[in-house]
Structures are given as C-alpha cells and as structure tokens.
C-alpha cells in the first residue's frame, strides 16, 4: 500500500517548478488524448501552443482573453490568501457586465467619451454589490461563502436572462434575446487600430502592480493574509476577521465586476445570454497556477488564454469538440494539485 508522508521541509524551488511540471504532464496527456481521437498530436499541440502566439494579431487576441482572467484572478488571489473562498466570481462578472451595460445603454448623441469611465465604475459597483450579498450572508448568518457565492452565480445568470429576454430586449432586434448594440462612444478605447485589444490590458497590468503592493507592502494586506494563515494570530494581533471578510469579498467582487464591464463594453458591445463565458471559474485555476502571486497570475492567464484560443482553433481546423478547452484547463488544475501534493508530501511504500 502507498501512503503519503509529510515532508519536513518543502522545497521552495519545487513550489515554483510545480506549475511547469504540471504543464508538461498536461501536454503529455494532451498528446495521448489527440492520439486516442485519431488526430496528429503535433498538429494538435501546434493549435494550442504555437498558433496563438505566432503573430501580433494572435497576441492581441490573447490580450483580450487574458485581461478578464488577470483581473478576476487578482481579486481571487487576495480572497484565497485571506482564507475567504469566493467561488462566485462568475456571478460578480455577470452583474458587473449588467451594471456597465446599463450605463452604456443610457448613452445618446450628447454623451462624451467620459461615459466609459462611468461604465467601468458601474461595473465595479455591480460586482461589489453582488459579492456584498455573499459577505453579508456569511457575516450575519455564518452561511458558507463557498456555497452562497457559487449559487449566486446562477441567480446572476437568471437575472441576465430575464433582462435580455424581457425589459432590456432590443425592440428592433427581430426578437433575439439581446440588448441594443451600444453606441460607438461607449466602446472601450482600443490600443491599436485594426486589433481588438483595448486599454483593459493596461488596466490589468496596473492592477497587478496595485495588488502586489497591497499584498506585500501595506499593513492592510498583511492583516488580510495573517487572517488566512493563522486566524488565532490575527485575533491576537487585533485584526478583525469581519473586516477581512468584507474587504476581500468587496475587492474581488469589484475586480470581477470591472472585468465584466470591460467585456460588455469591449469585445461584446451588447448584452446577450452569452455574457458568462466561464472566465469567473477559469480564473480560479489561473489564481492557483499563478501561485496566488500577482506576477504569476500574468503568466498563467496567458497560458489559459492559449487554451481558449487553441480550443477554438482545434474545433475549426481539426474538427475537435469545443469542450477540449475545458478538458485542457481541468487537466492543468488537476496535475498542478497533484504536483503540489508532492511538494508537501512524499510517497512511501507501507506494509500494513
């Protein structure tokens, strides 16, 4: 029988190498998967690891996908480090998109470019409000934030469905479930003509810096993390666990909401039932693969975006089902958790 034995001293090097090892194993499993499906594994891997990065256009598309992932994952990293388990970033993303979208729908011929700022602020407020529900239920009734935040994702989806099938449906939209197309003035400014990538990338990079400073350079960030690492030490120091709960949830809700508004007023340009693209859930993987570190999150978000784009390419060029993206993302998280386990434990053969 095999059993796990705790290692006296986990290796610091391996905790950094673990994501790379996980990626390598994911690749090997991917090759096996392509072979089983009767596809050329080389072509398959090319779709995921080369096509998305071989051109400037590819990088622009990666930026579009990675921006919401980075923003949401940063908020989640702060949350998880504080031992607050917000699993419902997807819902906060949707409500952020709804709030930002509502502001965008108010635009008319007299609106100036400053409306973009209001769209983004509305997104932040929407995401925060949705996360605040979870925080309040946890704080007031001690309800598990894991379950509550997750279930609120489906409530947010239904709210979106109600609005685009009902009050917000475009009267000239041939009865399709979608809002009006937002006016050009509401569009998130693009970085370069002809490519879709927009200033969201800069906002995401700025947020990386801000989150790094919060976590590692401010007393508030220190207090949050102590609450996650050793609750008794946080009580001893006098850090309020309620304050941590609210701060972590409002921050991560706001970040997810911001991502939602950027998406609605950016690549989407209107509200449809297809706003929820799974970024909120994928960002959980991004946060962990990035070691809950702001800089690590940049790299893992790019990797996850390659899976998204590679999955679409594999669908159109190799005739593989689109769910291959989810399979790859899931494999990566699974192998990472397995590798992480071996950082802290070693396997021993035990006779029992």
């Amino acid at each position: 029988m095999l059993r796990l034995e705790i290692r006296p001293q986990p290796s610091k090097l391996m905790s950094l190498a673990s994501p790379l090892l996980a990626l390598a194993i994911t690749t090997l499993l991917g090759i096996a998967l392509f072979l089983l499906l009767g596809k050329d594994p080389l072509r398959g891997l090319q779709m995921f690891f080369w096509e998305p990065i071989k051109s400037a256009y590819g990088w622009s598309e990666l930026g579009i996908k990675a921006t919401p992932l980075v923003l949401i994952a940063l908020g989640l990293a702060v949350c998880f480090r504080s031992n607050v388990w917000n699993i419902g970033a997807e819902g906060q993303f949707v409500v952020g998109a709804l709030a930002g979208g509502w502001v965008a729908m108010q635009a008319d011929a007299s609106s100036g470019r400053s409306i973009v700022l209001w769209i983004l602020l509305a997104g932040v407020a929407g995401g925060m409000a949705w996360a605040a529900l979870t925080a309040w239920l946890r704080d007031r009734f001690n309800a598990s934030e894991i379950l509550v935040s997750l279930m609120l994702v489906y409530v947010a989806d239904l709210l979106l469905g109600y609005l685009v099938y009902g009050p917000w449906k475009d009267p000239n939209g041939y009865n399709f479930p979608q809002s009006i197309s937002f006016l050009a003035v509401t569009k998130i400014p693009k970085l370069f003509d002809g490519w879709r990538v927009n200033i969201g990338v800069l906002i995401a990079l700025g947020s990386v810096l801000a989150c790094w400073a919060l976590l590692f350079r401010t007393y508030a960030g220190f207090a949050l993390q102590v609450g996650g690492l050793a609750p008794a030490a946080a009580r001893y120091a006098g850090f309020s666990s309620r304050r941590s709960l609210w701060l972590a949830l409002l921050l991560s809700g706001g970040m997810a909401g911001l991502a939602g508004a950027l998406e609605a007023a950016g690549p989407l340009g209107q509200l449809t039932p297809y706003v929820p693209a799974g970024y909120g859930f994928a960002a959980i993987i991004v946060a962990f693969v990035g070691r809950l570190h702001p800089v690590g999150i940049i790299f893992s978000a790019i990797l996850m975006s390659m899976f998204y784009i590679g999955g679409e390419l594999a669908q159109s060029r190799l005739g593989l089902p689109k769910s291959i993206t989810g399979v790859f993302q899931g494999l990566l998280l699974f192998t990472l958790l397995a590798c992480d386990t071996l950082i802290h434990y070693r396997i021993r053969r035990a006779r029992s």
């Binding site: 006296p8 001293q9 350079r217 401010t218 007393y219 508030a220 220190f222 102590v226 690492l229 050793a230 008794a232 030490a233 009580r235 001893y236 120091a237 006098g238 309020s240 035990a350 006779r351 029992s352």
Partner: protein, 509 residues
C-alpha cells in the same frame, strides 16, 4: 543467564535539512528501568523518541529490541512490539467518553463493554482512578492524562514512553503519577521519561541519559547527582542565577479588574465569575492554578481577543478598556504574550521580520505602508538583543525551536516598552537556559517599573519571580497573598478552590 536489555540503540543518527538532530546516539534501557532522557529543547529528544516509536526512520544505527535487531517502520509496528507512547498533547475527543476514546485506538474485535471492563481492571491494578463512562470534557487535565496512560497500557506494553508528562499536573497529581509509574516498573515495564525538570528526574528515575545538540553528553544515576551537575551536562554550563531585587513597594495602580464575569464562549470552556484583582506598577503578580480553570478565558478578556467583558470591569490606569480592541489596548501600553507560540503568538509560515508586525507597528506609516527595511532591522535587533538562535530575520517562525521562538516573542513585547505586560506560561516547554534568561528579562522589566501579570502552571517559577500570588480555580480568582505568606501546601490547596474561609482578611492586599 543475564536478561537481554529491553531496548538498545547504537550509533543512531538522523540528519534533517538544517540540523543533525541525532548524532551517534547510544541508549540502553533495562527491563523495569525508569530511564530519563534529559535535554534542552532542540537537543534531539523528540527525534529519538520518534525513531523508537517508528514515526521517523534513522539514517544510521541499529535498534535492538529484547536482544533482537529490529527496524521499526511505523507506530503500528512499534505497538505490536510492545512500545507505547503518551504524548505531551493529549489526543482525546472531548465529546466521547473515556472508554469510547480508548476503544477507538484498539482493534475492532472487542465490544465497548469488554473494553470498559478492561479499562477498569487496568486502572485498578495501577491505582489510576478513571471512570470509563464519563465524557472527556468533564475530566480534569490530570484525569485526561490518566485516560491516555490507560490507553497506552491496554496493549500490555514492555516499554512506555512519556513525553513531558507533568507539565499539566498539580504537585499532588505529580505524586500520584509517580506512584503509578513506580508500580509499572516493578512489574517489569520499562519507562522512558522525557523531561527537563531536574527535581522530578532525581526523584523518580533510576538512570539518566543526557542529550545536548543531538549527542549524548552524559549517562548518570540521577539519584546521586545535584541539580547543578545535571544542568551542567544538559546545557554545558551552570544555569544563570536570578537576581531578585526586593520589591520597592508597590507603585501606581496599573491594571484593575473588578466584577469581571463572562459566560463561556464555547461549550467546553470555563465561565469567569466575579474576578477582582489589582496590579501595581513595578510588581509581578503571579497567577497559579491548574490549566483549564479559566486562565485562557481571563487572558483573552485581558488581551482584547474576547471583548465581551462588562463595562468598567477591566481598567488600565483608570481608563475602562473592557470592550476595547486588542490594538487599542496595545496602543495604551498593555502587551500580551499568549501561551501558544505557533499560530497565535506568531504566524508559522511567515518570517520573523513579518511576525514583528503582529504587535509592532513602528514600521508602518500613517498611510498604511510598511517600511521593509525597518521591519528587517527590528527583527535583527530582537534576535541580537535576546540571543535568539535563528537563521536570520528572514527565517520562518516555524523553523525555530520552541525556546528560541518564545525568546523572540517575549522579546518583541518587552522591546515595545509596555506599561503592563500580561504573559501566559512564559517558559512552557522552554529549556533551562532560555527559561532563566526569560525570567531574568521579566524581572528586569519589573525593576524598570512595568506591571506584570504572569500566568504559569509551574509553581517553582511563580515562587521564583512573583512579588504576590493569586490562584485561579473554577473560573474564580483567590485573594492575593505576598510571597512571605505563600507556601506550596497552601497554594496547592487553593488550587482546588479552598480559599474562602482564610482568604477574607487578605482581600485588600
């Protein structure tokens, strides 16, 4: 024919990444021998016991069990051979009865009724008073320890390992434990007794192996040794003598508790009832008592971790702080050292530098930014000033030995120049050298005019450093008495809550 030795270790070595925990250790235990293993924290006692109990594998060396070479791969195998261990920290389920707890650790062939009967039989034959039917949460600490010992004895061991067994017992309970152990030894069971309490080892043990820095530094018969000789073997030097200046008369009233009553915060806690005491600047007030009599709850109410105390019941220099936060109290000059070092006094995975930030905010500016350089410097100063053995300011708190982490935490609070210092178990599980150093620091702090409240389970320690004493029992606090009036017998009796009749005239001490 000569009986083979019960246990013989030769040349045992164990290398951990940072430290050689055992270096060519030899240990021979005869049948029926009570064998002390003496050493400071970090001397390698725990590693050696884990090797004997199969929880850790040695890198080198040989283990002979009753003359036969064995390799002990797991605690289960150790139990099969006849080795049992009673840990310092009990592993009992509060909500289950004593019998159910014992039953959990046995193979499943026995029914609960059979186990109960066997517990009673074992308990009776060794004079261990245990009621198998009582839920563990109703048992005193001494009774819980007896349950642990009974559990260890259920398998008829030939070798019983006890890790610091008296740290939670009253002086009376220690005597009861010793009688049991002597009886066990008479019947041929060998006992390995791990401790750093020299008096106990001299009173109980037949033989003593002394460890220092992973090596055996002496093998003696403790009955013929003085404390000073043993401690020289253990720490390589005489323990520093304490300079106990006479109290210069009490200073200003620093901390006053009156009518402090608190319902229990958790089902198995202790409620506080009408606690009153006065602590003056420049004195050390000791709080004696068996753990679990409300000390934890009192500490939490003083530190601000539990801010439910009735208004006016906790006053710091006349200011009501009963419901103030821990940070507010600290700003007003009240600092606290908790008894749990890892996880409460320090965050295990964070560096010493970061751990200074728990209670020290000099490096944080008004906007909430941390100056990394200042944090680093503070930690380095503390390490140097309090002689903490650590791999620098960046070392994780959990990488330090218990004594060194305690020096760091106590140092962190002393260095903050508190007006009132509340400290729980200042030398709990700390080696002799570090303990003497910490007590010396506390006395120096008193002489500098700080008011200290010291909660300890070690009576010796309280008698050594206190100016006045109170006793806690059942969530209440006795009147204070001066050291001139205090005797071990009197305090021992008060620990059972028997102070009402005689204490009245001292109430305004």
């Amino acid at each position: 024919m000569i009986q083979p030795l019960r246990l013989q270790l030769s040349g045992i070595s164990k290398q951990y990444p940072a430290v050689k925990a055992n270096d060519g250790v030899h240990l021979s235990v005869a049948p029926g021998q009570i064998h002390a293993v003496l050493g400071e924290n970090g001397a390698g006692k725990s590693t050696l016991m884990k090797i004997i109990y199969g929880a850790v594998q040695p890198d080198e060396g040989q283990v002979l069990w009753n003359g036969q070479p064995v390799s002990i791969r797991s605690p289960a195998q150790a139990r099969q051979l006849g080795i049992s261990m009673v840990y310092q920290h009990f592993s009992l389920f509060d909500t289950l009865s004593a019998a159910e707890n014992v039953w959990l650790g046995l193979d499943k062939s026995l029914s609960l009724a059979e186990v109960t009967a066997r517990i009673s039989a074992v308990a009776q034959s060794y004079g261990l008073a245990v009621d198998p039917a009582r839920p563990v949460h109703t048992l005193s600490v001494g009774e819980r320890q007896r349950v642990e010992i009974v559990r260890a004895l259920m398998t008829n061991p030939q070798l019983l390992i006890l890790d610091e067994p008296t740290s939670v017992l009253t002086p009376q309970a220690v005597q009861t434990l010793f009688q049991t152990l002597r009886k066990l030894a008479e019947q041929g069971c060998s006992i390995l007794y791990i401790s750093h309490k020299l008096d106990e080892i001299r009173a109980l043990c037949h033989h003593c192996t002394v460890l220092r820095a992973g090596r055996v530094t002496g093998e003696v018969d403790p009955r013929g040794q003085s404390n000073a000789e043993l401690s020289r073997l253990m720490i390589g030097a005489e323990p520093p003598q304490l300079r106990h200046a006479e109290p210069r008369g009490s200073g200003a009233l620093a901390l006053e508790l009156k009518g402090l009553s608190l319902p229990k915060a958790e089902p198995f806690g202790t409620a506080l009832e009408g606690i009153a005491l006065r602590l003056h600047a420049g004195e050390i007030l000791g709080v004696a008592g068996v753990s679990g009599n409300g000390q934890q709850e009192l500490m939490a109410a003083l530190s601000g971790e539990d801010a439910r105390a009735p208004r006016g019941s906790v006053q710091l220099f006349g200011q009501d702080i009963a419901q103030a936060s821990a940070r507010k109290r600290r700003r007003l000059g009240l600092h606290f050292v908790p008894e749990e070092r890892l996880g409460r006094g320090a965050v295990p995975t964070l560096s010493l530098a970061q751990n200074t930030l728990l209670t020290r905010t000099e490096a944080v500016n008004a906007a909430g930014w941390i100056s990394q350089g200042q944090v680093q410097r503070l930690a380095e100063e503390l390490i140097a000033r309090f002689k903490v053995k650590a791999g620098g300011a960046g070392a994780a708190a959990k990488s330090l030995s218990g004594g060194n982490l305690q020096k760091f935490i106590v140092g962190r609070e002393i260095d903050a120049a508190p007006k009132v210092l509340v400290i729980a178990q200042p030398t709990w599980g700390v080696d002799v050298g570090a303990a003497a150093q910490i007590r010396g620091e506390l006395l120096a702090l008193r002489d500098a005019g700080c008011a200290l409240l010291v909660v300890s389970e070690e009576l010796d320690e309280l008698f050594e450093i206190s100016d006045r004493l109170v006793v806690m029992a059942n969530g209440r606090v006795s009147p204070a008495i001066t050291m001139a009036e205090a005797t071990v017998e009197k305090i021992g009796a008060w620990m059972s809550g028997l102070w009402q009749e005689e204490g009245a005239q001292h109430a305004q001490a």
